[in-house]
Amino acid sequence: MTTQDVKQVVIDIIADIAPDEDLSVIKEDVSLREQLDLDSMDFLDIVMELRKRHRVEVPADDYPRLATLASCVEYLTPKFIQ
């Protein structure tokens, strides 16, 4: 999977979890919580959907790595390659 593919995976998941948000204007290096109406339960949902849809595990200690879209891609891409 390319980094672009992984980015799209994350965006698709966020689109389902936060269906009222306009994700076309999302800034990759800004905290997702700063620009979107996401709370801690939403991040649990993101982790759950990664597990459910792609069998990708994110340990609780690594949750901060999902802070921005760019950090999501950086952290998750090696997991999709594995």
Partner: protein, 414 residues
């Protein structure tokens, strides 16, 4: 009255299988319009069912809906509609003095069934169980979702009272207002039960699930000789309930005054009704209202369309009201099915407009009245104009032998 604090209804918000506001719903009841349709129920095939068609997005974001439950969504819709109907100045209202009391038959079956279904799709991997399962299934969920949506910081909880839940929610509001716990209550009952196959399977196992393959709208026929069970429906009805003086001070429209109520228990069987206890319940409500049976213009029956239930209630109504020539009797489930926790509140709402239009709506789907269900004053063939309606007694009964009767009176300015 056993308490001097007078309590009134000043707003109605509802969704039923045949209407999404009081005007639509009342018109459908008077005209005999059924809300029963046929739908595929998981594992159960095609079933007769009563589904509501309100716009979930009218008062919720997509995300709120995704996080919450159908019961929560129904409650939020009804609460908002009631607030609008009551013409409350919501923005300036002290939300810490508002209580939310929602009657339910059950809650959590839908969400648990869905999770277990997913669990099986996911090869029993519990690591894929939703983090939303607990907030969706806690018993206070529907009432809690109302407080989240409306910023209410007063008390909220549901009242689990089986199919007497709708009446029980209203009664809870009356009690809390009289205790001074709240200044305003949003109360009634709701149901999301058709979203769970287990309720259908349970009634089928009891031999009490109605279905008519020739005409699905006739699947529930309370009081009819050929009735063969009930129809599972969803719905909601929440009222704005407040003290008479606060309603008068703000110039509110007063739909009715709640003048009497009673809840008692059969203490005899898990599912079979008890005519004697139902009789006592109605008489206790009348006693508390300081009324005689002859003061009641309309008795709204629970009448679920089951064999034993209708006979038992008819006998109780005859026992209390047979000497009252001016009392009319009707029921609502022939139109909308059994809305479970919402039933009592919705059925009261369906009759409330009689205070204004003087019409007793018909009980639908009685082709041949069961002689064992005969009641003097039963309105079944067509809705009947009876003139000045001043008092309604609303019955709502449930499993485990819970009975409730609520009496409301037309407010005539004194």
């Amino acid at each position: 009255m056993y308490s001097h604090q007078r309590i009134v209804i000043t707003g109605v918000g509802l969704t039923a299988p045949n209407g999404n506001n009081l005007t639509e719903y009342r018109q459908a009841l008077v005209q005999g319009v059924s809300g029963i349709t046929q739908s595929e129920i998981r594992y159960m095939g095609q079933q007769a069912v009563g589904l509501c068609r309100f716009d979930e997005m009218k008062y919720q974001s997509k995300k709120q809906r995704r996080r919450g439950t159908r019961a929560g969504s129904i409650s939020i819709y009804c609460a908002n509609e009631a607030i609008t109907d009551a013409k409350l100045d919501w923005a300036s209202l002290d939300k810490s003095k508002v209580g939310v009391y929602v009657g339910i038959t059950e809650h959590g079956n839908v969400e648990t069934e869905n999770e277990i279904y997913e669990l099986h799709q996911n090869k029993l991997d519990t690591k894929l169980w939703s983090p939303h399962h607990n907030p969706r299934t806690v018993a206070n969920n529907p009432a809690g979702e109302v407080t989240l949506a409306l910023g209410i910081t007063g008390p909220h909880y549901t009242i689990g009272a089986a199919c007497a839940g709708g009446n029980a929610g209203i009664i809870q509001a009356v009690q809390m207002l009289r205790l001074g716990e709240v200044e305003l209550a949003i109360a009634g009952g709701i149901s999301e039960s058709p979203q769970t196959f287990g309720i259908f399977a349970g009634f089928a196992a009891q031999g009490a699930l109605g279905f008519d393959a020739n005409d699905v709208t006739k699947s529930i026929r309370p009081m009819d000789k050929k009735r063969n069970g009930t129809v599972i429906s969803e719905g909601g009805c929440l009222y704005i309930i407040e003290k008479l003086e606060t309603a008068l001070a703000r110039g509110a429209k007063i739909y009715a005054e709640i003048v009497g109520y009673a809840i008692n228990s059969d203490a005899s069987d898990y599912v079979n009704p008890h005519t004697g206890r139902q009789t006592e319940c109605m008489r206790l409500a009348l006693h508390r209202a300081q009324m005689q049976a002859s003061d009641v213009d309309i008795v709204s029956m629970h009448a679920t369309g089951t064999g034993a239930g209708d006979i038992s209630e008819a006998a109780a109504v005859r026992e209390v009201f047979s000497a009252s020539s001016k009392t009319y009797v009707n029921f609502t489930k022939g139109h909308i099915g059994h809305c479970m926790g919402a039933a009592g509140a919705l059925e009261l709402a369906g009759n409330l407009s009689a205070f204004e239009d003087g019409i007793v709506h018909l009980g639908l789907n009685v082709d041949e009245l069961d002689p064992d269900c005969e009641c003097p004053g039963l309105v079944i063939q067509e809705s009947k104009y009876v003139g000045n309606v001043k008092t309604i007694l609303n019955n709502s009964f449930g499993m485990l032998g819970i009975n409730s009767a609520l009496i409301v009176k037309k407010y005539e300015g004194k």
